[in-house]
């Protein structure tokens, strides 16, 4: 194995403005909402001049070399060695390392959701716990039990920070979705004899539950709260934004500026905990977007099919098979394309000959 080698600097210089454009393209393509038009424009740029292509190859070449650091353990070593985390977050200052390590000792990890359990145990997520950060990969789900008895389920592609101290019990949702069943206190009590206050932070605001079961999902522009039991208060981040209390059977979305009025929660909104997705009269495009959260491939459909209403229960463990089955049951064609970028795309299309459904 050609272990841990980084490329030598390229000898032929690349014009600075081309280098700058190439970096801008890379950032745009990593964005949270890329479009086909963006990819087309990027390909046009690459083809426009040999220097463009050379600059792009340089980026790819270094990125490929960087991927060798991405293994579990190695990435953590790289972070800790090159750029130790500092308490720079404005919303949730992290405790000093010593306090942090102490807080971590109070964490207990419960592993083993379905068949991924063994893999997880071997890959030792206890190191992730050592940074009080828990992550799931795309398609992975996990259950955690915290020191105070609070139980968490992490949905696909999720990252959270757990900060438990004598003064507060705080979860920070960095991406993805969590389901929380809160408990009261555990062993730690504040000086007043009450358990430390519990809260969930997202970039859009803070949630304070009142003894309850709820899920929090972070999307690009807003946070979604769904309450299954008890009640949860939303405090959007911006000063002066009104607090909203959401009760059992309701869901609400909010961003930093404010919360939308709560609406009725659809049934089985927490079915992902059991590895299922339950759709009831759901537009096909929405269903594919939801399934796509659990798959590395990008799922889409022809725009003429987007509003097709679907009902059914779908297992989340083999999304490719679900899509194939879905296509067969609806009489649609599925087409798989591997993009230049390396990502697989599965598109559902109307059967040949039928222009419209």
């Amino acid at each position: 194995m050609n272990a841990f080698r980084l490329p030598a600097p390229s000898d032929a210089p690349i014009p600075p403005d081309v280098a700058r454009q190439a970096v801008e393209w890379q950032i745009a393509l990593q964005g949270d909402d890329t479009t086909d038009a963006l990819h087309d424009a990027w390909r046009t740029w690459r083809a426009a001049h040999p220097d463009h292509e050379r600059a792009w190859q340089r980026i790819e070449h270094v990125n490929l070399a960087l991927r060798q650091f991405a293994a579990p353990g190695t990435a953590q070593l790289a972070h800790a060695t090159l750029a130790p985390a500092k308490p720079i977050s404005k919303t949730a200052p992290k405790p000093a390392p010593a306090a942090r390590r102490k807080a971590i000792k109070t964490l207990v990890l419960l592993l083993g959701v379905g068949s991924t359990g063994l893999w997880l145990a071997r890959q030792a997520p206890s190191w992730q716990a050592a940074l009080a950060t828990h992550r799931t990969r795309i398609g992975e789900r996990r259950e955690l039990r915290l020191a105070d008895g609070t139980v968490l389920w992490l949905n696909t592609d999720t990252a959270i920070d757990v900060d438990y101290t004598a003064e507060q019990r705080q979860l920070r949702l960095l991406r993805g979705e969590i389901l929380i069943v809160t408990a009261h206190g555990g062993d730690t009590l504040t000086s007043t004899g009450a358990p430390p206050p519990f809260s969930v932070l997202t970039p859009h605001g803070e949630l304070r539950p009142l003894g309850t079961r709820f899920s929090v999902r972070l999307d690009a522009t807003h946070t979604r709260l769904a309450v299954f039991g008890g009640a949860v208060a939303i405090q959007p981040r911006q000063a002066g934004a009104a607090t909203l209390t959401v009760t059992a059977g309701q869901q609400a979305r909010f961003d930093a500026a404010g919360a939308m009025p709560p609406v009725t929660l659809p049934g089985h909104a927490d079915a992902w905990r059991d590895g299922m997705l339950v759709a009831s009269d759901m537009p096909l495009a929405t269903l594919l977007a939801e399934l796509g959260r659990h798959a590395t491939a990008h799922l889409s459909c022809d725009p003429t099919l987007a509003d097709l209403r679907i009902s059914g229960s779908y297992p989340l463990d083999d999304i490719d098979r679900v899509v194939t089955t879905l296509a067969a049951s609806l009489g649609l064609r599925s087409e798989t394309v591997t993009r230049f970028w390396g990502r697989r795309e599965i598109r559902l299309l109307a059967p040949t000959g039928a222009r419209k459904l």
Binding site: L6, A19, L77, A78, A80, L82, S89, A92, Q123
Partner: protein, 168 residues
């Protein structure tokens, strides 16, 4: 290698080696380390492509030795951070001693590629490239806006992809 350059280095060594070793020993307070750094300083000269033509040999040697010294210190603090991080890894995840040496060298190289960037920019770049986090997730992790994250990634990408590695 150029005969003229070889002769230049030979003269520098003959005339100034004891003096330079003394200068280094005062800086690091250890004779063995000073001898190693002296060795590194002349190794660095031997890798040159162009003649030295130093008007002020001692000023020239001090300038090269300072770079060697600062690289030594950077590497030492990197190693310390690495060993601390390694100590807190659970045994199944820890690399083998051979892997560890290779990894440390690669991290050293990556550290030089990122050298001089503000720490949050380094962190943003590593979160993006090593952890595959999206812009919004990095923004949340660092407690800054997505616009700032993009600025960090632009600065880090510019340097990491297109600035030549500084030779040491």
């Amino acid at each position: 290698m150029d005969q003229h350059l070889k002769q230049e280095i030979h003269t520098l060594y003959a005339d100034h080696q004891p003096w330079l070793q003394g200068w280094l020993r005062k800086k690091v307070g250890c004779g063995h380390l000073a001898a190693d750094l002296l060795q590194d300083t002349f190794m660095r000269l031997l890798s040159r492509q162009t003649p030295i033509l130093a008007q002020e040999p001692r000023a020239f040697l001090t300038a090269v030795a300072k770079r060697v010294l600062s690289n030594h210190r950077r590497r030492a603090s990197l190693e310390q951070a690495y060993l601390q991080a390694l100590a807190s890894l659970p045994p199944p995840l820890a690399p083998s001693p051979e892997e560890s040496a290779l990894l440390l060298d690669a991290l050293d190289q990556l550290d030089r590629m990122l050298d001089g960037l503000p720490p949050p920019a380094k962190r943003a770049f590593l979160l993006s490239q090593l952890d595959g986090l999206g812009h919004a997730a990095i923004a949340a992790e660092l407690g800054v806006s997505v616009t700032t994250v993009k600025r960090y990634l632009a600065a880090a990408g510019q340097q990491c992809y297109f600035a030549a590695l500084t030779a040491d």
